[in-house]
Amino acid sequence: MTDDFIEKAKREAVQDRLAAEALIVDVDGFEGPLDLLLTLSRTQKVDLRKISILQLARQYLAFVEKAKQLRIELAADYLVMAAWLAFLKSRLLLPPDPEEEGPSGEELAAHLAFQLERLQAMRTAAARLMARDRMGRDFFARGIPEDVTKTRIVTYSATLLDLMQGYARLRTKDEFRPFVMDRDSVFTMEEALDRMRGLIGFAGQWTDLTSYLPEGWESDPKKRRSATASTFAAALQLAKEGKVNLRQDGTFGRIELRQKEADHD
């Protein structure tokens, strides 16, 4: 009988060892330290509410120790949990120090027990949920749904204001030519050409081109730029037509203009 007992104890020891090794081999299969703790807690074979956290901490630390022996790399969070459990273990074993601040070992243990119980409860709930009659497996939706045909009704809206503005726009468009851009500061080439043609008869002498700028266009830089460009272009046009000669005494120098007939004089 004693032999039997020893046999049995041996067998259990072997089983425990195998179980522990299996745990370690499976370490990747665990969903973190809390999951491992929950699995370990089952070996206590008691209600989770009566679990001995101290014993659980020992089991966990033994597991980590074993993993180290087997040179299995444990993820950091397993080691963090080991450190915390070692701390918890000492708190639980040592008489409470009245000087020490913070929660007591019992409080910490109670919270860990709560976490384990909650995780277990969620697992049970998840299993019950997945075991329910499920759509597409146990019950089914309509196989030939008749789609609601959506008839899109487009209504157009316009206000009286739109109408009146539309009409006003039409009836006044001849006056203000809405698509012509604002040309207040634009002196067109046609205008310049017109002006030059009128003035060219008086250009018997070489005259600076800038003196042909129209009155009132010399001071405002914007106007001046436009008038200079168009006057210059008009001068080129007149030269092309053989009506004037142009000369410039150097790069960026003054451009002068003279009536062509003057040449023959």
Binding site: F140, A141, R142, G143, I144, E146, D147, V148, T149, K150, T151, R152, I153, V154, T155, Y156, S157, A158, T159, L160, L161, D162, L163, M164, Q165, G166, Y167, A168, R169, L170, R171, T172, K173, D174, E175, F176
Partner: protein, 223 residues
């Protein structure tokens, strides 16, 4: 085939080997027809139902049960399906109302018709300075904001357009005469440019609305 089934079904039901009661069979047919993505033949029903079941008979009961209901069991070829009762088809339509702003071309065309009615297409084009697309006129006709008026007594007897009561209702007008004239538009700040005096009528050509043979119009368009 149906006869055959019925003949064999009777003894089988007596032997009550496995066949569920007819009420159950009816439930089964109901569920299969409901969930199936296609109409189901009697043969297929029998294949899927427990041994000894008689889908054809169950179908007879089921069809009767759905008589006058919102959906019915209909025969499609040699198969069966559940379908909406034809008189309720209107429920399967959902109307989506979408409001869009009328295009500028449409607004202008509408405005010309309102101010100058009765007005021909050629006259509209003359005022707008661009041709009027068929779509624009169709849209306005479709919206029932304009309709055809009397033909003009001019060569070719062109059709004219006038605005409708619906138009007046929409814009909250008693009559087209109530449309503000250009003077009023300007006074209301809707026109900000100066207007050459006498160039434009100051009120809509509303007299024309009553008298379709008009001088005002010819003045406006035939110069």
């Amino acid at each position: 085939m149906t006869d055959e089934t019925e003949q064999t079904a009777a003894p089988e039901e007596k032997s009550l080997f496995e066949a569920p009661p007819m009420g159950e069979q009816e439930r089964m047919v109901e569920a299969i027809l409901f969930a199936s993505a296609e109409p189901v033949t009697v043969r297929e029903l029998n294949d899927r139902m427990p041994h000894g079941a008689d889908a054809a008979e169950a179908l007879v009961h089921l069809r009767k049960r759905y008589e006058g209901r919102g959906v019915r069991v209909v025969k499609v070829g040699d198969a069966y399906a559940i379908r909406t009762a034809p008189d309720l088809g209107f429920l399967m339509q959902k109307e989506q109302v979408e409001t869009r702003k009328l295009s500028r071309a449409a607004i202008e065309t509408l405005a010309i018709i309102a101010y100058h009615q009765p007005v021909t297409r050629a006259e509209i084009e003359e005022i707008r300075g661009v041709s009027v697309s068929r779509g624009t006129v169709d849209q306005l006709l479709d919206m029932e904001w304009i309709r055809f008026g009397r033909r003009k007594m001019t060569p070719g007897r062109p059709v004219t357009f006038v605005v409708t009561q619906h138009f007046l209702d929409h814009f909250g007008l008693e009559s087209a005469r109530d449309l503000p004239g250009l003077k009023e538009l300007r006074a209301a700040g809707l026109l900000d440019n100066r207007l050459p005096p006498g160039a434009l009528p100051t009120t809509p050509e509303d007299e024309d609305l009553v008298e379709e043979t008009n001088e005002g119009q010819s003045e406006l368009f035939e110069d």
